[in-house]
Amino acid sequence: MLLLIQYTLIFSSVLILVALGGCFSEHSGVINLGLEGIMVMGGLGGALAMRYLPPDLPALAMILVVLLCAIGLGALYSSLLAIACINFKADQTIVGTALNILGTAAATVIVKAINTATNPNDVSSTIQYIRPKKSFIVNIGSFEFNWFMLIALIAVVIAYIVLYKTRFGLRLMACGEHPQAADSVGINVYKMRWYGVLISGVFGGLGGICYLLAGVSEWKFENGVAGFGFLALAVMIFGQWKPIRIAVSALLFGAFRALSNVYFGFEFLQSLNIPSTVYNMMPYIISLVVLAFTSRHSMAPKAEGIPYDKSQR
């Protein structure tokens, strides 16, 4: 049971972080379908940092450097989306999808190049981080506390305050609801959308490294992040673009994802004799069902997905 809670919390943390990223981007008016790619890139940044840092570094320094690398690469990668969709008015769906494919492909190429350079016989796309991973984990009894759980909690609070209690957040949301009106009162819509996308890159990168550190201690980059970026988008829609509701719905989704890791620990689930594949499918099935019921009255930002054109009314 404790294991279930632990996995639920860690997977929820991933979903919360990434969904908050999507939330900021969409409130500024840009649909960020590239979250999956951003997660991969953020994960790559963090994993590379863990690979090259001396493993006997103090835990705090290790955590900070890894986080900074993940955030940096995530934000940098998201700027590819920003420049195409905001400045060049490209189709946000195409560019987002391209970023997803590009993320996995680029990460694979980079990791393979690094692996082959150190050892010509090693053509895998795997990075190991068994020792550095320990910096992120504090054992409380048999419960493995991961610092990311705290980070996700703080992120929710910060996101709530920034979006609803600061001038910046309200302006950001104005750009997603009615950019022309925002522009008419002197808000620079392009700049605000850039901020929105970059913030989503920061959160996406954080979520990516969090996902890599969630269960395993090595990562094969060919696999990407298995649709987690899209699960996060589903969480965001279920959370109706509001940080607190996102956090609650992330817990629900996280629980189902966690079940696929730990279902064999429950006797009554084992006795049902359901193949493990069904548990793997669960988060996706649940999100489809949930989306079917919640999308009708969606409170999506009104102007999301539409490139801002100054000359339009």
Partner: protein, 376 residues
């Protein structure tokens, strides 16, 4: 005044696509340079050359055949995405529908020993069914088709692995080879293989895919049905106001789109060229490469034929790069870059038109001043 050659829609699309390809290859080259500057140029040329690396014409013909065999399903996936995109829907679920088609045709062939036509039909049906699910969710529940498509992709992938485990070889993760276990399910070859140095994998799949491309073009451009679908894509409310069944149109579009993707799977797996790996942990790349082919082809069915071949050509070419220095995923990287660059096509066309505007303006001014000079 005669219309400028470069103002034509088709010419501009072609130019934009060529720019995307060149830029994509160039950035790929830079990436190779960063990884290892020594063999970068050879490697990028290998990717572009693909089977031309073989010096013998017979070998070239054989590997051209192999590339074509894999281009046919890619073309079907590209058509699937293009068809939906013309109606304003982004069917990212094509990979999943392709996967469902794979599951259906292999299961029917290996477990029930159906004939090739039955397997093909079942694959089409499977793809169409999952496409229709996306359509239903979109039209009745307002679920974004991209997100539901991705969710279904993963559900289908796990389901496929589960079902096809029943027909896999006991000692390997692969399904039984169709050629040995279920020869009745192989697509007829009609002797097409002889053109490609007796390549046994060349079947009617290739002409069939091209025929489908032409059929799609006719449906979209020349029929009332296609017109209605496109009208729904432009403006759902307006289509409804005009008395079109907009919900039905969306469901139908995605069902047809899914059917095309499902058929693509059958066109590959029923040649016996590849086997399904039951431990596959990511959704088949075919659907995603299809996105690249669609946009590279300028959203035109005929253009898509060529772009599908090109994408498959470089994907296959990636397998020939020097493995001690680079990895074959470099071609995935290039096609991903090309999709990204395709986002800029609108801007490219805008820029082209502006250059033309300036050029014509200058010409007109020069002409005007010349006439003026004549009058004095």
């Amino acid at each position: 005044m005669k219309k400028n050659f470069f103002r034509r829609e088709g010419v501009q699309s072609l130019l934009a696509s060529l720019i995307c390809i060149l830029l994509g290859l160039f950035i790929g080259y830079i990436v190779l340079l960063i990884i290892n500057p020594k063999g970068a140029f050879t490697a990028i040329m290998t990717v572009v050359k693909n089977f031309f690396t073989y010096s013998k014409p017979s070998a070239q013909a054989k590997y051209l055949g192999n590339t074509l065999v894999k281009s046919a399903p890619l073309l079907m996936c590209a058509l699937s995405i293009m068809f939906a995109y013309k109606v304003g829907l982004f069917n990212i679920g094509a990979s999943g529908q392709y996967c469902a088609g794979t599951c259906a045709c292999l299961y029917a062939a290996l477990k029930w020993h159906w004939s090739w036509l039955g397997c093909l039909a079942l694959a089409i049906l499977a793809g169409a069914a999952f496409g229709a699910v996306v359509g239903l969710l979109k039209s009745y529940c307002n679920v974004n088709e991209v997100i539901s498509g991705i969710m279904l992709n993963w559900i289908i992938l796990y389901g496929t692995n589960m079902l096809l485990t029943q027909v896999k070889e006991p000692t390997s993760p692969y399904t039984y080879p169709v050629r040995a276990e279920a020869p009745q399910a192989l697509l007829p070859t009609l002797g097409l293989g002889t053109i490609f140095n007796n390549n046994i994998y060349v079947t009617i799949a290739i002409p069939l895919a091209i025929i489908m491309a032409i059929a799609i073009m006719i449906i979209l451009d020349k029929t009332r049905f296609g017109y209605e679908l496109k009208a729904t894509g432009f403006n759902r409310s307006a289509a409804k106001y005009c008395g079109m069944a907009e919900k039905r149109n969306i469901i139908l579009t995605l069902a047809i789109s899914g059917a095309l993707a499902g058929m693509g799977a059958s066109l590959l797996y029923q040649t016996g060229f590849v086997q399904w790996e039951c431990t596959t942990s990511s959704v088949p790349a075919m659907g995603f490469n299809g996105i690249a082919a669609t946009f590279l082809g300028g959203l035109n069915p005929i253009g898509t034929i060529f772009s599908s071949y090109f994408i498959q050509h470089i994907t296959a070419g990636g397998a020939y790069v020097d493995k001690t220095m680079y990895c074959s995923q470099i071609s995935d990287l290039i096609s991903a870059l090309i999709i990204y660059l395709c986002g800029f096509v609108l801007f490219l066309k805008f820029a082209m038109n502006r250059i033309l505007d300036r050029w014509e303006e200058k010409k007109r001014l020069a002409q005007a001043s010349a006439e003026k000079g004549g009058n004095v």
